[in-house]
């Protein structure tokens, strides 16, 4: 079984978000980049298939050279080969198109992406790839089992969970549940050493079209002062919620 895991490199979840260049770019100063958490759940699930089904795992990213540290971490966790498409990621369409062009004729059985990245939160790339390549797609995926050429996946929907079955190839948008937080692997020294020897391909983008363009970032307005209510005077809280905030 051949698996491709799509990796976004995102600021660590504790990062303070600031902008630079007249608020047109994210300020990477002092920010640590990590594997997008939703992708890491998927990568960890892929490791499980590697151990049980002898699957091979490639990881792919569309981005600049600075992303290579994060891809090396994916290799240290246990992926076999990394591919970086050497282009600044402009929008989801451009990323999806480049990854799709790479996948074409590579006969991956399973492609794992995250439900969304925690920086752009588009929820777009895996769905776009599925349509460009005409393969099955399940997002908000919280469980995945593979049996031969068949997949059984659970999707979190509004108000419940549905179990879906389909044939491979399949692309999923994964999230927590694929594996648990406690299953995530911290690379050990042996993994880190091995990662240095693993194949790392940098390939040129074969198309650069994009359909959307981000101009300017803003930070939320400063919150107005909080109003404190005495725990012995909860009627006051109800009064504020009813008459001032008008939410009950």
């Amino acid at each position: 079984m051949k698996i491709l895991v799509c990796i976004s490199c995102v600021p660590d979840t504790t990062s303070k978000i600031n902008f630079t260049n007249n608020d047109t770019d994210f300020d990477t100063n002092g920010v640590q980049f990590v594997i997008n958490p939703n992708d890491e759940f998927g990568l960890t699930r892929a490791m499980w298939f590697k151990e049980k089904n002898n699957a091979s795992i490639d990881v792919i990213n569309v981005g600049e050279q600075s992303n290579e540290t994060v891809l090396r971490k994916a290799l240290a966790i246990g992926a076999d080969r990394a591919i970086r498409i050497d282009s600044k990621a402009i929008d989801s369409y451009q990323v999806a198109k480049n990854i799709s062009n790479f996948i074409k004729e590579k006969s991956y059985d399973l492609i794992i992406a995250g439900r969304e990245s925690i920086d752009y939160n588009g929820s777009m790339v895996p769905g776009m790839i599925s349509e460009i390549l005409n393969i099955n797609f399940i997002t908000n995926c919280v469980s995945l089992e593979i049996n031969g050429s068949n997949a059984t996946a659970k999707r979190e929907m509004e108000g419940g969970i549905e179990t879906l079955t389909c044939e491979l190839p399949l692309i999923i948008g994964g999230q927590k549940g694929l594996v648990e937080e406690s299953d995530l692997k911290i690379p050990n020294m042996r993994g880190i050493m091995q990662a240095r020897q693993k194949p790392f391909d940098v390939i040129a983008p074969d198309q650069s079209e994009f359909k959307t363009e981000t101009h300017k970032f803003y930070k939320p307005e400063d919150k107005k002062e909080i109003k404190m209510v005495d725990p012995d005077n909860l009627d006051k809280l109800i009064d504020l919620l009813h008459n001032e905030a008008k939410v009950i």
């Binding site: 600021p11 979840t13 303070k16 958490p37 939703n38 929008d91 989801s92 369409y93 925690i118 920086d119 939160n121 588009g122 929820s123 777009m124 769905g127 776009m128 599925s130 349509e131 460009i132 797609f137 399940i138 997002t139 908000n140 919280v142 979190e156 929907m157 509004e158 108000g159 419940g160 969970i161 549905e162 179990t163 879906l164 079955t165 044939e167 927590k176 937080e181 994009f210 359909k211 959307t212 363009e213 981000t214 101009h215 300017k216 930070k219 939320p220 919150k223 107005k224 909080i226 109003k227 404190m228 725990p231 909860l234 809280l237 109800i238 919620l241 009813h242 905030a245 939410v247 009950i248």
Partner: protein, 320 residues
């Protein structure tokens, strides 16, 4: 030229989010002087839709697609777009809409922006504001292609009643075969989902254990609210993952968010920052959540929550 508002339905009724989506699309259709078409799949009663100003309502009634399937729904909407020379498709932020939208964007060769929180600020180029960095910031995004898809976040656009007398059209869509089979559905029992709720009551490790969650559930019942929890609580297995809100869990954009015994880690605050009004109940006056909330109570949740529940019950009885 036309603009389509695709609305989600449940039990053959439009979902609550439908009217926000239609109002958003109506605003654009007025600015661009194009026809507004509301598209609904498996909906019986379209009366309420007419109150929000569509020129046409296109309904696809077909039992074979009563279960949501993103590829098939995207194909059906695509067929309707083709018949009506549609350039703009507006959807809500529900899980199903966001599942099908990227598929539709490839079919229509459209630029697609999700998590949009305001009306277009410009039409040349077409520019909208969306959230980014998991609600820690916003950004302006332009769509450069002729066809455009927008999915709007819930509670981000004012509903506006503009009664109209739309033509109602039954559309006979060509339904492709599904390659994915729904084997079973496990519905959460009796709960209001976080996405549908006007009020969310959320609790953290301050509740000390799952056995104390009846206090949270009782308060949620009184307020007709959904229950949610912080990440540590779902990681500890006290509550299901589906209740975890925050950066790696669900985002919450509700009218009222009540956080009980949640200190307010930056990842949690990001996930709930789009909620309109936030109330924090915590025994630690230094909890960071107090800096991000509108109303705060410093006190022991085990005393405050039951008391608040009793008072709210009395308030509800008086005001209903």
């Amino acid at each position: 030229m036309s603009i389509i508002a695709y609305i989600e339905s449940s039990n053959r009724e439009p979902k609550k989010s439908a009217y926000e989506v239609i109002s958003y699309a109506k605003n654009i259709s007025e600015k661009l002087s194009t026809e507004l078409i509301v598209v609904a799949i498996n909906v019986d009663n379209t009366n309420e839709i007419s109150n929000y100003g569509p020129d046409k309502i296109i309904v696809v009634n077909n039992q074979s697609i009563k279960n949501f399937n993103p590829k098939i729904y995207a194909e059906v909407i695509y067929q309707i777009c083709n018949k009506n020379s549609t350039n703009h498709v507006i959807l809500g932020g529900g899980a199903d809409s966001k599942f099908l939208a990227p598929i539709l964007s490839i079919k229509l060769d459209a630029g697609y922006v999700s998590n949009v929180v305001g009306a277009p600020s410009n039409y040349e180029p077409f520019t909208v504001k969306r959230t980014s960095f998991s609600n820690k910031s916003f950004c302006d995004v332009s769509i450069l292609s002729k066809n455009k898809i927008i999915s709007i976040s819930s509670n981000s656009f004012e509903k506006k009643k503009i009664p109209s007398n739309p033509e109602i059209i039954e559309f006979d869509a060509e339904i492709p075969d599904s390659k994915i089979t729904q084997a079973s559905v496990d519905l959460s029992k009796g709960n209001i989902s976080i996405a549908d709720a006007d009020i969310v009551v959320s609790a953290g490790r301050g509740m000390k254990g799952p056995e104390n969650w009846h206090l949270i559930e009782n308060l949620a019942n009184t307020l007709n609210a959904a229950t949610a929890c912080s990440k540590p609580v779902s990681d500890l297995g006290w509550r299901p993952h589906s209740e975890h809100v925050g950066q790696t869990g669900k985002p919450v954009a509700t009218n009222l968010y009540i956080a009980i015994g949640i200190s307010g880690a930056i990842q949690h605050l990001a996930g709930v920052s789009s909620s309109k009004v936030k109330v924090v109940i915590n025994n630690d006056p230094e909890a960071p959540f107090f800096k991000a909330a509108d109303y705060g109570v410093v006190g022991d949740a085990f005393e405050v929550v039951p008391k608040l529940n009793e008072k709210l019950k009395a308030f509800k009885a008086e005001n209903n």
